[in-house]
């Protein structure tokens, strides 16, 4: 399908509900215009589409506001975020971070080489930390510009934060060589993150939250270390965030997680975002009874490098696999959508949501999918 054809097709499937209305009705088990969707952490990719560099979006609040405004106008995607990204806590406590002109920031020099320094680091008061205050201020500015939009806060999981504060190879060795110190570090990461949630709640009165914890995947940690080091602190974090924000957070863990699904099913979260390397149908069967699911369109092979048809087809497959999840399903990308993702692939994603996700109801295949299957049968008979 060409972009022009896609645009024409899209007009056949207009939205008839606002985001808030849709979410509320879907959660209540009512039929909605289309299945809820979330294209993960899309602001950097959107900035790129609108001709801004990542640095402009990051450093200039006016650019950030323009990105949100145009995203709403051109894609009808709303929502604000002001929280702790994967490396924000590490930056706040002194790790050296490199922020490229275009691209995702990365750790250059983790601050904690030696555990002797941990006590000094722990003296920092998060509620007076300049990095935390500036992140919060960005949220205040965005909310002032878009008072009608909801604001949510992402945070990084304890193991991910720890891996940006202390060199990751040391952290992995700590699981055997310095387990006590590692637990201290992880606990501190939880407390520090919850402190930000309290600052956020004081300002905005609560809100949604997603925990991103890429380092907790089974590719890196394995089940034994997940149980021993990640899980206990993840549980503390979930409890702390729920208390501070007045609602359960969602969680996204990149990479392979299926060996941990039995354990992860016990987490008291609102939803779980499944990485694209996992099978969504299997996730639905095992984790679906415990919380909502989200996922898992491949960000690189499909969103960044795929065609319009690839995006539509993958979204359709995901809807078929995920939509019958008992506690609800949100069509989403399997991880952050990359910078460089073309505009037409965002539109293709949204089109698939409206066409195949049409007439969605929690726990059921949407009418869009059911009707197409019926049409196929009729056409075959004819």
């Amino acid at each position: 399908m060409t972009y022009e054809e896609l645009k024409r097709e899209m007009e056949k499937y207009p939205e008839t509900m606002t985001d808030g209305e849709r979410m509320q009705k879907y959660a209540a088990g009512e039929e909605v215009d289309h299945i809820p969707f979330s294209i993960q952490s899309n602001e950097e990719a959107m900035a790129n589409i609108f001709g801004y560099t990542t640095a402009q979006w990051r450093n200039d609040v006016k650019v950030h506001i323009d990105v949100i405004k145009r995203r709403k106008e051109e894609f009808n995607i709303g929502g604000l975020a002001s929280g702790l990204r994967l490396r924000t806590m590490a930056q706040a406590v002194g790790s050296e971070i490199y922020f490229p002109e275009v691209g995702i920031d990365r750790v250059i020099k983790p601050v904690l080489e030696d555990y002797d320094q941990l006590k000094t680091l722990m003296k920092d008061n998060p509620k007076k930390n300049p990095v935390f205050l500036s992140v919060l201020q960005r949220g205040i500015d965005l909310k002032a510009a878009f008072p009608e939009m909801g604001i949510a806060m992402p945070v990084a999981g304890p193991f991910t934060n720890a891996s940006c504060i202390r060199p990751v190879e040391k952290i992995l060795r700590d699981t055997v060589r310095h387990p006590e110190e590692l637990h201290d570090l992880l606990k501190w990461c939880v407390d520090y993150t919850v402190a930000y949630a309290e600052m956020f709640a004081d300002e905005f009165g609560g809100g949604g939250c997603t925990i991103c914890d890429p380092v907790s995947c089974s590719d890196i940690l394995g089940k034994r270390n997940y149980k021993k080091f990640s899980e206990p602190h993840l549980i503390e974090l979930i409890e702390g965030l729920t208390q501070a924000l007045g609602r359960k957070p969602g969680i996204h863990i990149c990479g392979k997680t299926s060996p941990l699904w039995d354990e992860m099913s016990q987490l008291k979260v609102a939803n779980f975002s499944v990485d694209n390397m996992e099978d969504l149908a299997a996730a639905r069967d095992i984790m679906g009874p415990h919380f909502g699911l989200m996922g898992n369109v491949a960000p690189v092979d499909v969103m960044l490098n795929g065609t319009i048809d690839d995006v539509i087809e993958t979204c359709k497959t995901c809807i078929i696999k995920g939509s019958e999840a008992e506690n609800g399903y949100t069509l989403g990308t399997g991880c952050q959508v990359p910078i460089g993702t073309p505009r037409e692939n965002f539109d293709a994603f949204i089109f698939a949501t409206r066409k195949y996700g049409r007439g969605a109801r929690k726990g059921c295949l949407p009418l869009g999918i059911a009707e197409e299957a019926l049409t196929d049968v009729i056409e075959t008979k004819e």
Partner: protein, 217 residues
């Protein structure tokens, strides 16, 4: 006094059990008894690492375990290596240049691949991380490498891999090297799209792919 076989077994076990301190003593004992250092490396240390990699295949060991096993292996190598005769060679080793592509500093995956490749007997040239495109090619030419191995975790730096392959073509030397790529955002499809010869999802699999590419079975 322990026999050679007993000491080799102990060295293998210490690697497998991640004992990076005791292993040096066993290696000293092995050398003092006058046994062949090369046998010690291949049938002691490397054997332990191979056992660890089998466990990784069976999902009993994970990245953390492989790292700790390799710490023990390198601690043993530090003792044994100086005793190798100067002209000793590990056999007809294949050479591989490895690095994380320019713009990216995530190197834990690359480091693991390097460890597993060394364990398998490859001569590794590690360019480190944030490696300029041309450095891969220059180093590969300089050491007459069999393989060029590139890794990245970031989508923004993936295109650098394609550029390396294109530059190899421009210089008319594409067929001199096998090119392998890996890293979280990379897939078999992407590897094929950019014209790489091989892709693997993890470090243990990387060795198998590398062996096939250079004709080692």
């Amino acid at each position: 006094m322990a026999t050679k076989e007993e000491l080799l077994q102990k060295m293998s076990d210490y690697v497998f059990e991640m004992e990076d301190e005791e292993i040096a003593d066993v290696c000293e004992e092995y050398i003092e008894a006058g046994y062949d250092p090369l046998d010690g490396i291949l049938h002691g240390l490397v054997d332990g690492m191979n056992r660890a990699s089998d466990m990784y295949d069976q999902e009993e060991y994970f990245v953390t375990d492989l790292l700790l096993c390799s710490d023990a292996m390198y601690a043993g190598l530090d003792v044994l290596r100086p005793h190798l005769p100067e002209d000793a060679s590990m056999g007809d080793s294949k050479k591989a240049v490895i690095g994380v592509i320019e713009g990216d500093t995530h190197d834990i995956g690359k480091n693991l691949v390097k460890i597993m490749m060394e364990t398998a007997g490859f001569e590794m040239y590690d360019l480190g991380r944030d490696v300029p495109i041309d450095s891969f090619i220059e180093k590969a030419k300089e050491v007459d490498a069999d393989l060029i191995m590139m890794s990245t975790l970031m989508t923004t730096t993936m295109p650098g891999m394609r550029t390396v392959i294109e530059k190899l073509k421009e210089q008319g030397i594409r067929d001199n090297f096998k090119v392998m790529v890996g890293g979280s955002p990379i897939s078999m499809k992407y590897a094929e799209d950019i014209g790489a010869d091989g892709y693997s999802r993890n470090a243990v699999e990387a060795v198998e792919v590398a062996k096939k590419l250079v004709g080692i079975e």
